[in-house]
Amino acid sequence: MHAPTIVEVVAVERSTPIHTTVSFDYPAPALPGQFVMVWLPGVDEIPMSLSRTGVRKAMVARVRGDATAALCALQVGDRIGIRGPYGRPFAVTRRRNVAVGGGTGMAPLLPLVRHGPPGTHWDLIVGGATKAELLYLDWAAAAVSDEGLDVTLHTATEDGSAGTRGYPTAIVEALLAKGGIDEVFACGPELLMFGAFQSCERHDVPLQASMERFMKCGFGICDACALSGYLTCLDGPVFDRPALRLMQEFGHSQRNAAGLPQGI
C-alpha cells in the first residue's frame, strides 16, 4: 500500500556538525540501496536512503532546503510518515569491492558494507569537505575492530584535514589503477559518481551507483524521476555501468519538479 505509515522518531543523532541521523521502527524488509519516501507533515515528502535496514531503520540528512531542515529538526517522539521501501538495491556478488561515498552518500554504504556476504573485502572511501564532516567515519573505524569486518578505510577531504586532499574519486582511480578490484559501489554527489564511472570505464571494472532524481510517486507512474528513459525510482536508484553508459543525462542534467532539465 503506497500510503504513509506513521512512525515515531526513536532517536536523533548529530552524526557530524552538518549531518543528522534519524531512527524509527518500520518493519517492512529493506535492502541496502533502497529508499523510503518520508512525509514531513506540512512540509514535503522526500526520498531518503536507508542507513539502517533492520526493523529499526535510520536515515541521515544534511540541510539543503525546507524538507531536509525539517528532517534534521525532528525530535524523539515526533511523528513522520514513511512509505516504501522502494527501488532496486545494491547487489554484492563479488569479493573485492570498493565502496565510495561522499557526504550523505554514506547512508546506503553503511548497511551495504555491514551486511555484505561473509568473505567480502571492502575498500571503503569516506569523502567530505573537512575532517569533521566525514560521515560515519567513527562507525567505520569501529566496525573494522569490533565487528571484524574486512574493511580498509580511506578518507578524502577537500581541505586536506584528514586523508587525501581532494575528492574521493582520486582514491577510486588509484585503487583501480593498482588492480585487483572486482566491483565499485558509489553513492554521493553526482559528479563523484560520474568520476567513479569514468574510472570504472577506463579500467573496465563493474560499477553500481545510487542516483538521485526528483521524486513524486516513488513507484514508477509519474515520470518525475525520469533519467534518460529510465525511472530512477523503479529501475534504480542503483544502476549498473551498462545502464549508466546509456544515460546522456548522467553527470549533466536533472529535472526539477516541473520536469524541466537543469544542470547538475
Partner: protein, 325 residues
C-alpha cells in the same frame, strides 16, 4: 524503434500487442491495439513515452502541457487509497517550449502508434496557442484537459461549463488540422451536456473520464495527506463511474470515445469497449502491474476475443448498449 536493454517484450506478449485481432481505428488514427497510455503517467519525458511503446501500448497521451513550466503542488502529491490512487500533482509540466524537444525524441524513435498531445489552459486563446505548439511538435492528435480550476466558479473546473467547453473546442479545432479529443471530468451532475458541447465545438472524439474529486486524511497526523488537501481519485475504485459515463455518452452521441478510469486487466478494458468506447487508456494500473501493464492487458483482451469468437476488437464496441433504436 530504439529500446533500452532488457525492454524487448517476451514473444508471447510481443505477439499479442501487434495481433491483427487488436488492430483498430480511433477516428482517423490507426492503432495496433486499443490500449493507450493515459495522460499524466510516464509522459513528462519523450524517452519514457517511447518506452511505453516498447512495453506494448497502442498509443500514448502526453502529460498535460501548459504554456509555462509549472512546478505543481508540493509533495505528497500521490497516496494510495482503498481501490485506487489519489493525486494532486497540480498540473506540473515543463511548459510547451521545452516539451517540443521531448516530442521530437518520440518522433525520431518512429514509434508504432499515435502521439496524442494533452494540453491545458485557461481560455480558448491559450488552448489554441498550445494546440499549434503540439501540432508543430508532431503530435498526431490532441486531447484537451479541461480539469483546471475554473476562474468564474469556486471548486469547479473549466470542464463543467458547457459554453466554455464549446468555445475552447471550437477555437482549438480551428487552430489545427489534427483531430481534437476533449477529456471530460466526472465531477458534474450530468456529463452528457458537456460531451455534446465538445462535439458541437467540433471535437473529433471524447475521452472519459478524468479523476474523481476526493480526499484522504491521516488520522494519526490529523491532516489531509496530499499537500493540496483535495485530489483526484483514479484506479479500480472509479471504474464504474467511467463505464457509466462512457455508456451514457455512447448512447447519445456518435463520436469515437476513449474510455479511461480503473482499467487494470483485459476484462476491465472490455467493460469500456462494450459500453461504447473505441479505445481505452490505462494509467493507475501501472502502479500494481508495472510498466508491462499495456502488454498484459492487450494479451488478456486478445485472448478473450479469441475465446469468444470475435474477428476483430471493433466488433465488441457498444455491445452492452443492446439493440440501438
Amino acid at each position: 524503434m530504439h529500446t533500452l536493454p532488457g525492454d524487448e517484450l517476451p514473444d508471447e506478449l510481443a505477439g499479442a500487442v501487434a495481433d491483427p485481432l487488436l488492430a483498430t481505428t480511433l477516428g482517423r488514427l490507426r492503432l495496433r491495439n486499443p490500449i493507450i497510455l493515459a495522460s499524466g503517467f510516464l509522459g513528462e519525458t519523450g524517452q519514457s513515452l517511447v518506452r511505453c511503446f516498447a512495453h506494448g501500448c497502442g498509443g500514448v497521451v502526453t502529460k498535460s502541457i501548459g504554456t509555462l513550466p509549472r512546478l505543481g503542488h508540493a509533495n505528497p502529491t500521490v497516496v494510495e487509497v482503498d481501490g485506487g490512487l489519489l493525486n494532486a500533482i497540480g498540473l506540473a509540466n515543463p511548459g510547451m517550449e521545452h516539451y517540443r524537444s521531448e516530442l521530437a525524441a518520440v518522433r525520431d524513435a518512429q514509434v508504432p502508434g499515435p502521439i496524442i498531445g494533452s494540453i491545458f489552459g485557461a481560455d480558448p486563446q491559450e488552448f489554441s496557442q498550445l494546440a499549434k505548439g503540439m501540432a508543430a511538435a508532431g503530435a498526431d492528435a490532441l486531447e484537451l484537459n479541461l480539469s483546471c480550476p475554473h476562474v468564474k466558479g469556486v471548486g469547479t473546473e473549466v470542464g463543467s461549463d458547457p459554453r466554455l467547453v464549446e468555445q475552447i473546442t471550437a477555437a482549438t479545432t480551428a487552430a489545427v488540422s489534427i483531430p481534437v479529443f476533449v477529456k471530460l471530468s466526472p465531477n458534474i451532475a450530468d456529463i452528457l451536456p458537456i460531451a455534446a458541447a465538445a462535439v458541437d465545438g467540433g471535437a473529433a472524439g471524447l475521452t472519459a473520464i478524468n479523476t474523481v474529486r476526493g480526499m484522504a486524511i491521516d488520522v494519526r497526523l490529523r491532516r489531509p495527506i496530499l499537500s493540496h488537501g483535495q485530489g483526484g481519485l483514479s484506479g479500480p475504485a472509479i471504474r464504474p463511474v467511467g463505464v457509466a459515463a462512457v455508456f451514457r455518452i455512447a448512447s447519445h452521441l456518435q463520436v469515437p470515445i476513449m474510455g479511461v478510469g480503473g482499467i487494470s486487466c483485459g476484462a476491465d478494458a472490455l467493460e469500456y469497449l462494450m459500453a461504447g468506447a473505441h479505445a481505452v487508456q490505462v494509467g493507475t494500473a501501472l502502479m500494481d502491474r508495472g510498466p508491462l501493464a499495456f502488454a498484459h492487458i492487450a494479451t488478456e483482451l486478445r485472448d478473450f476475443l479469441r475465446v469468444e469468437g470475435f474477428g476483430k476488437v471493433s466488433e465488441v464496441i457498444g455491445l452492452a448498449q443492446g439493440e440501438r433504436p
